[in-house]
Amino acid sequence: MNNIWLVMIAGGLITFGMRFSLIYLFGRFEVPETMRRALHYVPPAVLSAIIFPELLLLDGTLDLSMENTRMLAGMVAIITAWVSRNTLFTILVGMAALFLLNWLGL
């Protein structure tokens, strides 16, 4: 994709702008309470919007069967993340689960 540089530079400028914004504007602008509250929900919303299709869609169709190894490995990862709260460990267990499930031919 040739647009990658455009994406990075525009994304970088926007990100810097947001980091700089209120340090620069201090005293001239107050973050509204509703926005402050809404910002807490950005990570769970955006990440779930990526995770769900990755685990549950196969070629664009919903696949909730036990043959969907990505869904099963994803569930293993969710439990691991819940119990361990460790990023690296969760990734390793999830990868191992997918590898094993595919290898077993489930």
Binding site: G11, G27, V46
Partner: protein, 232 residues
């Protein structure tokens, strides 16, 4: 030792435990970005141009899926909106600095630099050289992020093709998100965004992603307001 230097080193020291966690993360990013089809240069440069972990992972993912540039840029903006909160929160502590200092510190203002700095500032109160603390935390994180990305890019090119490496991305996101899901509005935000993403998936230009994110944010915010009202 000068007061500035002491604050700078203290910032690095406070950042060190976080650096240990960030290092493998940077390596995973580097390896995934290359596997997602980014050139080595682009993958490396993203770590200094964007310098924001989760949005770099998502950018790599969306590039691999062939999402249009505008959608990726919008997504980066939504994900990084939280930096405005950090900016607001640190602003009173940095108000007397020159513009040059404000620009430099803003560039280094990541989740991991913000967290120890705001804790330090709230503990120590107003001191003349404390911006050096944020610089120490931010710069050491930047340095480790660039180094670990480079190692990841280097290793990523040599990984076997049959490893389901693309699956590491959703796994990374799961690892990031699950520990945050403690209260009902958070869980509702995640579920509603996920289900919307499934339904809206056929929409062109990956617009389903942005729609789903907005639905999740709205659901979480509205539920939280309702709980607050009931509690009062």
């Amino acid at each position: 030792m000068s007061e500035a230097r002491r604050n700078f080193l203290e910032g690095i020291r406070a950042e060190t435990p976080l650096l240990i966690g960030v290092f493998p993360f940077g390596m995973i990013y580097g390896a995934l970005a290359v596997n997602a089809g980014l050139s080595n240069t682009a993958a490396q440069m993203m770590s200094s141009i964007l310098f924001a972990g989760s949005s770099q992972f998502i950018t790599a993912q969306l590039v691999a899926e062939g999402a249009p540039a505008l959608v990726i840029i919008l997504t980066i903006a939504v994900i990084n909106l939280r930096h405005m909160l950090y900016s607001a929160s640190l602003a009173p502590h940095l108000k007397n600095l020159t513009l040059k200092w404000k620009v430099i510190l803003s560039y280094f203002l990541t989740d991991e630099a913000y967290a120890p700095s705001i804790l330090q500032y709230e503990k120590e109160g107003l001191q003349t050289y404390k911006h050096w603390f944020l610089l120490g935390a931010g710069f050491s994180l930047w340095f480790i992020w660039q180094t670990s990305t480079a190692i990841g890019v280097f290793l990523g090119a040599s990984l076997p093709d049959d490893l389901p490496l693309d699956f590491a991305l959703p796994l990374t996101f799961i690892a990031m998100i699950v520990p945050v899901l403690k209260k009902q509005p958070m869980i509702a935000a995640a579920l509603s965004a996920g289900i919307t993403a499934l339904i809206a998936h056929p929409l062109p230009f990956k617009l389903g992603l942005i729609l789903a994110a907005l639905v999740g944010i709205a659901v979480g915010t509205l539920l939280e307001s309702r709980y607050k009202q009931e509690a009062e």
